[in-house]
Amino acid sequence: MSQTETETEVVRGIGSDYAIKYGFHVPEDYFFKSGRGLSHELIDAISSHKDEPAWMRKSRHKALDYFLARPLPKWGGNVAEIDFDNIYYYIRPTEKQAKTWEDLPADIKDTWDKLGIPEAEKKYLAGVGAQYESEVVYHKLREDLEKQGVLFLDMDSGLREHEDIVKKYFGKIIPANDNKFAALNTAVWSGGSFIYVPPGVKIEMPLQAYFRINAENMGQFERTLIIVDEGAYVHYVEGCTAPIYTTDSLHSAVVEIIVNKGGRCRYTTIQNWSTNVFNLVTKRAVAYEDATMEWVDGNLGSKLTMKYPAIWLMGERAHGEVLSIAFAGKGQHQDAGGKAVHAAPNTTSVITSKSISKDGGRAGYRGLLEVAKGATGSKSKVVCDALILDDASRSDTYPYIRIDENNVDIGHEATVSKIGEEQLFYLMSRGLSEAEASAMIVSGFVEPITKELPLEYAVELNRLIQLQMEGSVG
């Protein structure tokens, strides 16, 4: 019953708005801030600041060349608007990472308090990483997990303390030249999470990372590597917000995940950037024999998001799931989706996408389903549902399917619907206002996804959707 209670409260208790809750910014008092724009000199500066091994510095320079050589993608959203010369690519807010929240500068600590992260850590998290601009300023893992051999560090510390592991996997799942924005991330990456879960260790409570942009025209480029060993389990959750500025910011992350035999990884994103942020992210996981990879991807914020979390099913009976929610309000374009590549026999995948567009927003599903020759007995189901709230808004569906094997079972369903006058009247005849009735229909529409989330995140996601319904974002 608690789930429904909370849902109802969410539906009822609307009224906050982005500007107050997330859109604030605090003065800049930084240890180091690069100049605007990209160059090989900038890369040397970043690498020197981080005191990195030579191979990483080399990898950055090479990636910058890839980035500069590649054209901008002509599909998806309008990335031509991004002024790459106007972005700050590296800001180090503090000299050292803090071990307690109290050790942080007051403004930064205050920001995390407002976002409720220290409180969440106490209540229901196994570990927290908090990234502010380019660096993870606070990081902590529960002691018992540390003793079991779990590694949960920021990526820079991961590279320093476990260079062998990072060197083995970095850029192997997503090569530097995979796409223009993966190249950019590889060139200027900073922060992000490094996670290793040893064989058989199941972390019941989520590990959470929170990404915060504070400065105007900031570029945030975190890099995450997660390795889940045999029979292990982790649920990693990320959230993000930024102040509202009139000029654009850029967020371009790369996330690489390896799930070994019989392991399971769930990666949940609640993306709530302010509507001046370009969010161009590459996420890919490989799942080996009997392993399970799940992406739960909620996109509510940003000006433009292009993100299609991918799963490569590399071992027999591996299973992959993508649950995607995209909500586009005024001035927003969510080009979201998922990819599943079946490269071994008897692998299974499910992609469920729910997109909502409102006030002229544009939300869509772009997905790839691929079954390689030899992946016999594979099964896949793709369901994408769109809900369009008014005539000014738009929904797109681009389901790409490539099947090179005969003995497979593939299903694809797509629906597009509008909130009907009859549904609204029915709910209003019971006393709900028009806004409450619409909000209820929308939370019901996304319920198949929110019910998969731990209660706290389901509540958060529902609350953000209600906020969007009020049109108060941006």
Binding site: M1, T4, E5, E7, T8, E9, V11, R12, G13, G420, E421, E422, Q423, F425, Y426, L427, M428, S429, R430, G431, L432, S433, E434, E436, A437, M440, I441, S443, G444, F445, V446, E447, P448
Partner: protein, 260 residues
């Protein structure tokens, strides 16, 4: 003074302007059961929708008063807040919203409206107790509470859940639009029993129906024969029996096939 008063009510389709209800005068008060009986196409459902404030129907002339207040221009939510309820002939599915969470939201919306716009949520134990009692009385299986509202419900389940909503929302006047259609005899007995129990000093009912059979379970105090958008005859319960025996022929309506 009656609680619900319809004064010379004229209703037209909002889009095309066709007049469907052509001047109806009717009053309903708590402790009363009124039956509006009419053949298919007489405008009965239009009357029900217009009473509740459906935006697809326009009141072109006349008035609806509730407790003396003119509610003619009010939205459905405002009418609900004052104590009007419509049990739908074809209730809509709301995927992803459970019966429980819907009912709580509806109750809290009504409580808020009646509390000057300030939140006044129903205490959970009270809500739970009321819901369990109402479900038991209407023989609604417990697992229905966790199902999505009207999604995949049978006709009988939908009607039962309409009456469950009525029992939980405690309206002052309930309009029942063809609640008997599509019900087998057992379901009809349960649903009608539920309505009968609620009629009293706190609630009056306006039962809209084609057939007399629901009236075997809910004895009407007043029967209004409704043909071509108008009330053409009024009387006591005996009028319903006469209609059952003779059909609507006496009112110039050709014999109809029995609907399922």
């Amino acid at each position: 003074m009656a609680l619900l008063e319809l004064k010379n009510l004229h209703v037209a389709l909002a889009e095309e302007g066709t007049e469907i209800v052509k001047g109806v005068d009717l009053t309903v008060s708590p402790n009363e059961v009124h039956a509006v009986m009419g053949p298919n196409g007489s405008g009965k459902s239009t009357l029900a929708y217009a009473l509740m404030g459906h935006p697809g129907y326009e009141i072109t002339e006349g008035q609806i008063l509730f407790g003396g207040e003119d509610v003619t221009e009010m939205g459905a939510d405002e009418r609900a807040a004052r104590g009007l309820f419509l049990a739908f002939q074809y209730p809509h599915a709301i995927p992803g919203v459970t019966v429980t969470s819907f009912l709580r939201a509806a109750i809290n919306a009504l409580r808020k409206a009646r509390n000057g716009g300030q939140d006044d949520p129903v205490p959970i134990p009270e809500f739970r107790k009321d819901m369990m009692a109402a479900m038991e009385q209407l023989e609604v299986p417990r697992e229905m509470a966790a199902r999505y509202l009207n999604e995949g419900f049978s006709g009988g389940e939908k009607k039962r859940v309409e009456i469950l909503q009525m029992a939980m929302l405690k309206p002052k006047i309930a309009v029942l639009d063809e609640t008997d259609s599509g019900l087998d005899i057992d379901a009809l007995r349960i649903v009608a029993g539920g309505v009968k129990q609620l009629v009293g000093p706190e609630m009056g009912a306006l039962v809209i129906t084609h057939y007399q059979r629901i009236l075997n379970y809910i004895q009407p105090d007043f029967v209004h024969v409704f043909v071509d958008g108008k009330i053409v005859e009024e009387g006591g319960p005996e009028l319903a029996h006469k209609l059952e025996a003779e059909g609507y022929k006496a009112f110039g309506v050709e014999g109809e096939k029995e609907a399922a």
